[in-house]
Amino acid sequence: MDFFFIHLLNALLSAATLFLIAGGLSLIYGVMRIVNLAHGNLYAFGAYVTAWTLGRALAGAPTPLLYLALPAGAVGAALLGAVLEPTLLRPFYKRAEEYQLLVTFGLLMILGDVMHFVWGPYPLSASALWENSGSVSIAGNPYPNYNLVVIAIGGIAAAFLWFFVYKTRFGVVLRATSQNMRMASALGVDVNRMYVQAFTLGCFMAGLGGAIIVPSQSAVLDMGVDALVLSFIVVVIGGLGSLEGALVGALIVGVVREAGIAWFPEIELAVLYLMAAAVLLVRPAGLFGRAT
Amino acid sequence: MSLLVTRGLVKHFGDTHAVDRVDFTVREREVLALIGSNGAGKTTLVNLISGLLRPDGGRIVFQDRDVTHLSVHGRIEAGIARSFQLVNLFDRLSMLDNVALAIFSRQGKTRKLMALADADRAVWEEAIEILRLFGLEAKARVPAAGLSQGERKLLDVAVAYALRPKLLFLDEPTSGVSTREKAPIMDTITSVVRREGISAAIIEHDMDVVFNYSDRIVAMHQGAILADGTPAEIRVNEAVAINLLGTTHA
């Protein structure tokens, strides 16, 4: 039973970061109808910024300060997103999907090398926080406290987003825009502003995902490309454009990955991709998506 | 002789009874006008018969064969073709290509990967012939996207006609066309239909056009058939006068 509990915690752990990345991707798609192939690199960017802040700038600082600085990556990714949307993406909203995908693919390549240039080719780590946080004993095995913090942050982020999207005026406008951009625009919504806000929020989420992962794993250059495909699986299962879907999709993927690592490591990823394909076939709009 | 018969055809969209237990008939060798105000269910009826939509109930019989569950492809092979209310063309292909494609498809040649389309002179000659029939041959090489609204409407009809159907459904072939252009378009369509000995069911709003060109008129209202008769009968039909003519400009 306790053995099961540890697996469950690990599943929640990977679901927490996945939800943040995939939720951001899905939010951006829901509002702007753009699949951002560079999204994974915004996650990686968040990881690098936090790794640099905690591991270099604040090396040796006391743990509470490190916790306070943890969201640096989220803020960094949000700022980057706020610059990218109006400059690079905005010219493409009226163009065919192919071009939107290609521009974000170009952005993926560019961002990858920008990080390479700024932080070098080697992994950047900031494990102090993870080490300083200690561990609890679960079933006689030590379990890192920091992992529990990540799970908590994932949960809080989900609750916060739910509140944001369903209980605030901003959320009302956001949902209206995602359902019908033209009508929202006719009703006086500043669509350009809405887009930049939604994109920034989506990038913030990806950056937060990167930020919280970095004390337990180093930031590496490939992490964005890999994370993007995993979050694709999440949003395809949950439904492109749906935050609830991203949450459920992240939980499903988290559980399958954990089970896969334990019992079928060779085909763990293949199973995930096949699951995504199967969901698309049975319910093209995903488990929570609206048919469009 | 009936060419096409529907029995109790039904289609709902949520609470809207777009087509409500319709018994509709098209006879051989006739030009039939299907009239009714906007939202009466005319387009939906054509969508059901042509296979774009699946009915919620009822049967469709074409030449004594039940086609209710046949694919679009199967219905075209059986001899039912249609044009569209909102023009539906291959915009980047030339006019000639648009028509030729229908001919290739009719002849089962679109399954050929290793033959040059341009080498099949018979097809291109037929395509030119059809464009000429509709008075469109001058712009044969112009992409469909670059045509006027009237030309596009006609081309849409020509593409359907190129399938050599036995029954041709035309959904508002003259809408969006100036009044002056309407008569030549209808002249062309009806003369082609009569000469080939096929049938056409034409959805039309302009009552002058309807009375001038059709052999028979079917009037729809709120998803049901309101009246069915010759132009002379429909002219004096009270239900039509109240429900339809009162609301149109005729």
Partner: protein, 331 residues
């Protein structure tokens, strides 16, 4: 009959061959005038051109954007590598047969699933399925060599082995011509396919799926055949690529490699037949140049891509066509 003459004769193949002949001649003499390195580089470009040509049957002619063509390229390449490893085969012709069969099977299955969707869903589905193969190649290292990949020796060409010739010499000459012949064959057959009634039907599907259905074209079935043909062309490219590169790794199965194929095609222009060919060759030079000159070559390529899409959406060939047309119109 004059209208017909104008309409059909003006696009006769003879006019195009006028353009193609000098290019073909240049390709034939190239290894004699250029360095071995340059000849090999061009061979890489021609191989990628075959892949992009196949890819563009879907994008340019059928209107489907695949983000999973790495799957077919990789299957073609791994088929060769596995034939070497397990069957001890060395004949390039057998490799090509194997790659055609392998990629046809995979494309047949993937296509069956994918052609139910269009637009972004099609893209994501192809991506997800190609990633299945990537993860298998990555994890089943005892079969595929994992990230180390599999090595492939120089093959026998029509029964002749390179003998004692130097490997580079072999690739820059004999193998270059082998690639060139297959390239010509692929270009010619693709040209026939897109000019066939079937090719017209695909373009009709691209322009208007509903109307295509209503002229009697069974849209899904045609898309599936297009998918299959497209996959096989890309698979052949994969098979030709391995001996040139000497090594195949899961990288060529990864979705980012699919992205490169898309990139090449858009670079050349997906609305023109020659677009993917020119795009692939250009991309190949661009990448070789960027990789040779900076570690930040991805930055260079990414910037080119963004600028390209912003300023030349019809690609190099599309833009050249327009310029020529405008120039011709004025004079």
């Amino acid at each position: 009959m004059s209208t017909l003459a104008v309409a059909v004769e003006s696009r006769s193949p003879v006019r195009r061959l006028v353009w193609a002949m000098p290019v073909a001649a240049a390709l034939l003499v190239y290894p004699w005038v250029a360095s071995q390195y340059q000849a090999m580089l061009l061979a890489y470009g021609l191989v990628m051109a075959i892949a992009a040509l196949g890819f563009n049957l879907l994008l340019g002619y059928t209107g489907l954007l695949s983000f999973g063509h790495s799957a077919f390229f990789g299957v073609g390449a791994y088929t060769v590598a596995l034939m070497v490893k397990y069957l001890n085969v060395g004949s390039m012709e057998l490799f090509l047969v194997g790659a055609v069969v392998g990629s046809a099977v995979v494309a047949g299955i993937f296509g069956f699933v994918c052609v139910r969707y269009t637009r972004i869903f099609f893209g994501i589905l192809t991506l997800a399925l190609s990633q299945v193969l990537w993860s298998l190649a990555f994890k089943f290292f005892w079969v595929t060599g994992g990230t180390d990949g599999l090595r492939v020796p120089t093959p026998m060409l029509v029964g002749f082995s390179g003998g004692k010739t130097d490997k580079i010499e072999f690739l820059a000459h004999a193998y270059y011509y082998y690639v060139l012949v297959i390239f010509f064959a692929c270009v010619a057959s693709m040209w026939v396919i897109v000019s066939s009634p079937f090719g017209k039907a695909l373009q009709a599907i691209r322009d208007n799926e509903t109307r295509a259905e209503f002229v009697g074209i069974q849209v899904r079935r045609y898309r599936w055949v297009a998918f299959l043909v497209s996959g096989v062309f890309t698979g052949v490219a994969g098979a030709l690529w391995v001996p040139l590169n000497g090594l195949i790794t899961p990288e060529n199965l990864h979705w980012t490699f699919s992205g490169k194929i898309v990139f090449m095609t858009v670079l050349g222009g997906f609305s023109a037949f020659a677009g993917p060919i020119i795009g692939a060759v250009l991309y190949n030079y661009l990448e070789a140049y960027a990789v040779g000159n900076t570690v930040y070559w991805q930055f260079v390529l990414g910037t080119v891509l963004v600028v390209l899409v912003l300023s030349l959406p019809t690609g190099v060939v599309g833009t050249a066509d327009r310029l020529i047309a405008r120039w011709g119109g004025r004079s």
